[in-house]
């Protein structure tokens, strides 16, 4: 059965986008930070958060292939449609990076090349920077020894090489997996099994790249905002956030489709399994978040602890609220079996955690890029959130219409239909 977008869904998504853009525009007019820094920072927050949903879905899809999981075959198309967002989701991210490279915004402090040279000749805009003391050169007051030590990794050309490598890999992987999945619908017998094994191998290969890239991209795109600070757990923590956001989006999407009468074979057991994933990954996120926090809090080393001092002293609500929502809410509300099998309840809790993880990305990006100009989430952030949400829903629903909602042929389809827990 093919999915078709209802008029109501279409008008709601466009309404969200228009409302979001309007709110963002009103907010941006009130943005008096230097270089419209706040606008750029919230663009980064939202493009990263929603790109992360696509990425989490792509990861989970590959994971299901690589582990040859049977139960999820019925909801495969939902994950395919979620990662189809990657096709467009990279554009706003790249816009932010281009603007940062051209110094139109100062989100990435390390992109200022004057930090890296010990001496300078001349003054003001005409100054040029040198590494060796020469005639007429004076000490560069901007010189930053810590940043100079990170130059081998944090420099604009290498940043772009990495960014292009990630984006190309993810977009190509998404395209390839989708193509394979559609091809499987047309095949039966031996060729179908062969294709599944090919998918299994390629997914395993992709997961290796994903493991490295997901970690490094979080250093590049997010952690380097606070360029003096670093945390070895940051990559995993960001990745857990992406994954849980993707799982929540998938659950809500499946429940929406079921409510509209699609996916008749998806039973309570499938919903229960997806609920378990949301529950489990929420705990993974909590575990990583807390491990990072506790080690830094415990050792109390000045260069590490500044990150949390800023957030605890200036944005306690964001800091603790995020932790509370993303940990306590799923723990208390999703623990019982009945809760994970109740669609309304799952959507309610899922929406709360979804917003919680968006706030988490705000907490990663905003204090570092805005400093004391960050006064909490306002019209700009919420407007952009709604606009991106509308764009995500639109892309996902459009992708759902392109292929039968339930896969036609898959070696594990029968097992998935009879899945019972």
């Amino acid at each position: 059965m093919n999915f078709s977008i209802t008029k109501r869904a279409r008008s709601i998504t466009f309404g969200l986008m228009i409302l979001g853009v309007l709110a963002a525009v009103v907010g941006i007019m009130g943005d008096h930070t230097e270089h419209h820094q706040r606008t750029w920072a919230s663009l980064l927050v939202n493009s990263f958060f929603f790109f992360g949903i696509g990425l989490g879905a792509l990861f989970f899809f590959a994971l299901q292939n690589a582990t040859e999981t049977a139960w999820s075959v019925l909801v495969k198309r939902v994950f395919e449609s979620l990662f189809s967002y990657l096709k467009w989701g990279w554009i706003p991210l790249v816009i932010v990076f281009i603007a940062a490279s051209l110094h139109m915004n100062h989100i990435y402090h390390w992109m200022d090349h004057s930090l890296y040279h010990e001496y300078m000749v001349g003054e003001g805009h005409d100054a040029h920077y040198v590494d060796q003391l020469e005639a007429g050169a004076v000490a560069n007051p901007n010189y930053d020894t810590i940043m100079a030590g990170k130059k081998a990794f944090l420099n604009v050309p290498f940043f772009w090489i990495r960014t292009i490598a990630y984006l190309a890999t993810f977009i190509f992987a998404g395209y390839w997996f989708r193509k394979q999945s559609l091809q499987m619908d047309k095949e039966t017998g031996d060729s179908l099994v062969k294709r599944m094994i090919l998918n299994y191998k390629r997914s395993a290969l992709f997961l290796v790249f994903f493991a490295v890239f997901s970690s490094i991209l979080s250093w590049d795109w997010i952690m380097s905002i606070d360029a003096h600070w670093f945390s070895t757990l940051f990559g995993w923590y960001t990745f857990a956030g992406m994954w849980v956001s993707a799982m929540i989006s998938a659950v809500i999407l499946v429940l929406y489709l079921k409510r509209k009468g699609y996916l008749p074979q998806v039973s309570n057991s499938h919903i229960h399994d997806m609920g378990k994933w949301v529950f489990a990954i929420s705990f993974l996120w909590t575990y990583l978040y807390f491990s990072q926090f506790m080690l830094i809090w415990y050792s109390n080393i000045p260069e590490e602890v500044t990150y949390f001092q800023d957030r605890i002293n200036n944005h306690p609500w964001l800091m603790w609220g995020t932790f509370f929502i993303n940990f306590a809410v799923p723990m208390v509300l999703l623990m019982s079996r009945d809760a994970k099998r109740n669609p309304r309840f799952l959507i309610f809790v899922g929406t709360i955690i979804f917003i919680g993880h968006w706030m988490d990305v705000n907490m990663m990006v905003m204090p570092g890029s805005l400093g004391h100009h960050f006064h909490g989430i306002g019209l700009v952030e919420i407007g952009m959130f709604l606009a991106f949400l509308g764009a995500l829903i639109h892309t996902v629903l459009t992708a759902l219409t392109k292929a039968p909602l339930t896969v036609v042929n898959h070696p594990y389809l029968d097992e998935s239909v009879h899945h019972q827990i």
């Binding site: 807390f290 506790m294 415990y298 050792s299 109390n300 079996r337």
Partner: protein
């Protein structure tokens, strides 16, 4: 007529499920099933009540949380105040991150052990208890349905057996009890 217990032996869990469905749809109460591994979806067919093990586990977990908190508070704050991570505030609340790992581990420890022990007591499978398994083959490759005539007064043993013969049953054993 003495009460009889009938054991229907199957070679496949799906066949056992079909057999159990057939019995239940004819109004026959299935006492229990025996299998080498859990058969998914058998509980609603033979009408096994939802387990309350989860509630017990929650209770054990909460007990663990409370005990761990109380113990650490007594040892590290009250009886012998500790300087935790260079922050000598001597308060539990301000040092709570340092106590979380132990609280977490002790909660899991109590919940897991409590759950395992409760499960074994409830199933009468504590080490040293006599085995209640009717047929040792059900620990290897056979799947067995147990039906008692005492539970099914409306049906004779012959009627139940002939009903079972219609399913792909491997063998049927009857015993007095």
């Amino acid at each position: 007529m003495a009460n009889k217990v009938i054991y229907a032996v199957y070679e496949d869990p799906e066949q056992l499920k079909d057999g159990a469905r057939k019995l239940v749809s004819n109004g026959i109460k299935v006492k229990d099933t025996w299998s080498p591994f859990p058969i998914h979806g058998i509980d609603p067919i033979i009408g096994v009540k939802r387990t309350r093990l989860a509630i017990a586990a929650f209770m054990y977990g909460i007990t663990g949380t409370c005990l761990a908190t109380l113990g650490m508070w007594y040892m590290n704050i009250f009886d012998w105040p500790m300087n935790i991570g260079g922050k000598p505030s001597m308060s539990y609340y301000q040092n709570v991150p340092a106590f979380i790992p132990v609280t977490f581990e002790f909660t899991i420890l109590c919940a897991a052990h409590g759950m395992a022990i409760t499960y074994m007591i409830r199933n009468k499978t504590l080490p040293g208890m006599p085995a209640r398994n009717p047929d040792p083959r059900s620990t290897d490759d056979k799947f067995i349905i147990e039906v008692r005539t005492g539970d099914n007064h409306g049906h004779s043993a012959e009627a139940i057996t002939s009903l079972l013969r219609e399913t792909p049953v491997f063998e049927i054993n009857e015993r007095q009890y």
